[in-house]
């Protein structure tokens, strides 16, 4: 029994981080119908910001989080202006953007690899290797902090989307782009904003990831299918769905990892993605069968 609770705790803590990694992806897809395959590579870019912050100045990666988020948000605005703005008129837009973001992912990987080489990195603040003990249970502090902070950030994002005027506009654009534009929403501005927030979330996730997982520039290929499975299961664009899916899948992955074998735990995500696409392409919370 303690085993099961133990695995559950580890799965949930990781799930929180994965939810944050996926939420930016979901937001960007929801508002702009861009399947951003470059998202994980940008998370790694964020992780490098935290890594070098910690290495050069000794700043804690959690403190570096807003810095990484801000830098990445800026890069997001740049990417949107340079690449996606002109693509918005393309007929095969959403398919085109998959290939474009795929190319962007390679560019980011190439730049990071050129700058920092392909060695495994990890930031190691004191809590990363420490743990709380509750009787027989242990909770690794690093994963717990990362998971909690992720959920706080996602909570704040949901509140922003729900109660602020800009959040209103973003949600309206997600639901129906043309109608929102007719009602006076500056759709282009909202798109830039949502894109910046989405990539900013990648930066934030990156600084948390930097002490939870070890990372190197080419690692993002492993994450893309994992995050896609979370976002697709969550219903392509629903933040709440993404969180639920992330927690669900990472708990399942934790059980698979313990009982079947560590190599098969990532397989959970890939197989889940396959099965979801086949059985219920619109995901748990999605309503748009047009994606199928």
């Amino acid at each position: 029994m303690t085993d099961i609770i133990q695995i559950l705790i580890l799965g949930l803590a990781l799930g929180g981080v994965i939810a944050l990694m996926g939420s930016g992806l979901a937001l960007v897809f929801g508002v702009m119908r861009i399947v951003n395959l470059a998202h994980p590579s940008l998370i790694i870019a964020g992780a490098y910001i935290a890594y070098w912050g910690a290495k050069l100045t000794g700043i804690d990666p959690i403190v570096m989080l807003p810095v990484a988020a801000a830098i990445m948000a800026g890069i997001g605005v740049l990417m949107y202006r340079l690449v996606f703005e002109r693509e918005a008129r393309n007929a095969k837009y959403s398919e085109m953007t998959v290939l474009l973001t795929f190319a962007l992912a390679m560019i980011v990987e190439g730049v990071l690899g050129g700058l920092f080489t392909n060695t495994q990195r990890v930031t190691s603040p004191g809590y990363a290797t420490d743990a709380f003990f509750l009787g027989d249970l242990f909770i690794p502090k690093g994963q717990l902090y990362a998971g909690l902070i992720s959920l706080v950030i996602i909570g704040a994002l949901s509140l922003f989307l729900k109660y602020s005027r800009l959040g209103y506009a973003i949600r309206a654009t997600t639901q129906n782009r043309e109608a929102a534009e007719l009602l006076g929403v500056n759709v282009n501005l909202i798109s830039v904003l949502a894109f910046a927030i989405g990539i900013g979330l990648a930066g934030a996730a990156g600084s948390l990831v930097s002490f939870v997982f070890s990372f190197f520039p080419a690692k993002h290929w492993e994450w893309i299918a994992m995050l896609m499975s979370v976002v697709v299961l969550g219903g392509m664009g629903s933040i709440l769905g993404t969180v639920v899916a992330a927690l669900l899948l990472s708990v399942i992955a934790a059980f698979v990892g313990t009982w079947v074998g560590a190599t098969w735990s990532t397989m959970t995500f890939f197989l889940a993605l396959f099965v979801i696409l086949l059985i219920r392409p619109q995901g748990l919370f999605g309503e748009k069968p047009e994606m199928a």
Partner: protein
């Protein structure tokens, strides 16, 4: 009286239309430069004679390497170019072909050149089964599912002890002298590339190819026009897996080892997509031109900068710029502007 008049005028209209179609077809035949690829093929098949006068192994290697990508890109084009279903998972079939023939070579000593068609068949069967599942979804979902497929295959290959797991398998080296060791693979690859281009040409000019292109324009309308879109798509997927599998088989023996991190990487798939996009998706000459360009660029990058990270960066940059500025590719853009040189018109 009036009925017979109508009939005769209807048949006259049909007659006129047929004559017009024939005229168009003749015009297209005249514009098509089939002699060019044939001459190129003839010249390339004489190239190994160079070995009589010195050591040109590097030249042979480059042509062989290009031919392998010509075959794979043309093969990818059957699915991605004609039907518009972009697959980033074709490296899986490359690996299936390579491992199937490679394991036979390692166990029984039968050259992969002999077993390559069987390897292609195995890859095609795998493609058929996978296609039955993944071709149910369209657009971005299909692309994502193909990436997931690659990831799943990588984990399976990495952990399958029988085929050597992540360490892979070392294959026996053939008994020819260094001077001639590459030549059998050279001819095999050249033949595979030629057959693939020819098959994709035949497909494009068949009713099947017409159906595939109808699917890429509007699948629902194609379906309602009586095309069995599901069967067409799955068949296209299997065919495009076939030649990639064959290429993988010969490539494995040429490399003399099989390893998941050589066969099952997304860069292989990405290269196929990139070649087709750069050359022109859905055209016959496009993938060939794209393959030649990318291999040349690759050699340039490696020769001048060396590092593999910069290689990835270069691939990504070329792909992004190509997508943004020439979404139709070289052949497609030139044809759209009516400036396609005749030597590049193989359609």
């Amino acid at each position: 009286m009036s009925v017979s008049l109508q009939q005769s005028s209807a048949s006259a209209v049909l007659e006129a239309r047929r004559a017009h179609n024939d005229k168009l077809a003749r015009k297209a035949d005249q514009a098509r430069a089939v002699w060019f690829p044939l001459t190129l093929l003839a010249l390339l098949s004489l190239l190994p004679l160079l070995q009589l006068s010195g050591n040109y192994n590097y030249v042979l290697h480059i042509v062989l390497f290009t031919a392998s990508y010509v075959a794979m890109a043309s093969s990818w084009n059957i699915l991605g170019g004609f039907t518009g279903y972009v697959s980033l998972g074709h490296a899986v079939f490359f690996a299936i072909g390579g491992y199937f023939s490679g394991m036979i070579l390692a166990r029984f000593g039968i050259s992969t050149i002999v077993t390559a068609p069987v390897a292609g068949l195995v890859a095609a069967i795998a493609g058929y089964l996978i296609g039955r599942i993944t071709l149910n979804v369209r657009g971005p979902s299909f692309i994502i599912s193909s990436i997931a497929l690659l990831m799943i295959a990588r984990i399976l290959f990495d952990n399958w002890a029988f085929i050597g797991g992540a360490n892979g398998v070392t294959l026996p080296v053939n008994s020819l002298s260094a001077q001639w060791a590459k030549v059998p693979y050279y001819y095999a690859m050249l033949a595979i590339a030629a057959v693939t281009v020819w098959v994709s040409y035949r497909i494009k000019h068949s009713k099947f190819g017409l159906g595939l292109r109808a699917i890429s324009k509007d699948e629902v309308k194609a379906e309602s026009a009586g095309i069995d879109t599901r069967f067409y798509k799955v068949l296209a997927f299997a065919l495009s897996a076939f030649f990639v599998g064959m290429t993988g088989a010969v490539w494995g023996e040429y490399l003399t080892y099989l390893r998941p991190n050589i066969f099952l990487i997304i860069l292989v798939s990405a290269n196929l997509v990139l070649m087709c996009i750069l050359g022109g998706k859905g055209t016959i000459a496009g993938p060939v031109i794209g393959a030649i360009l990318i291999v040349a660029l690759n050699e340039l990058f490696v020769a001048t900068m060396g590092a593999s990270e910069l290689n990835i960066l270069g691939t990504g940059l070329v792909m992004a710029l190509g997508l943004i500025f020439f979404p139709l590719g070289l052949v497609g853009t030139l044809a759209r502007r009516g400036k396609l040189p005749r030597v590049l018109n193989w359609d």
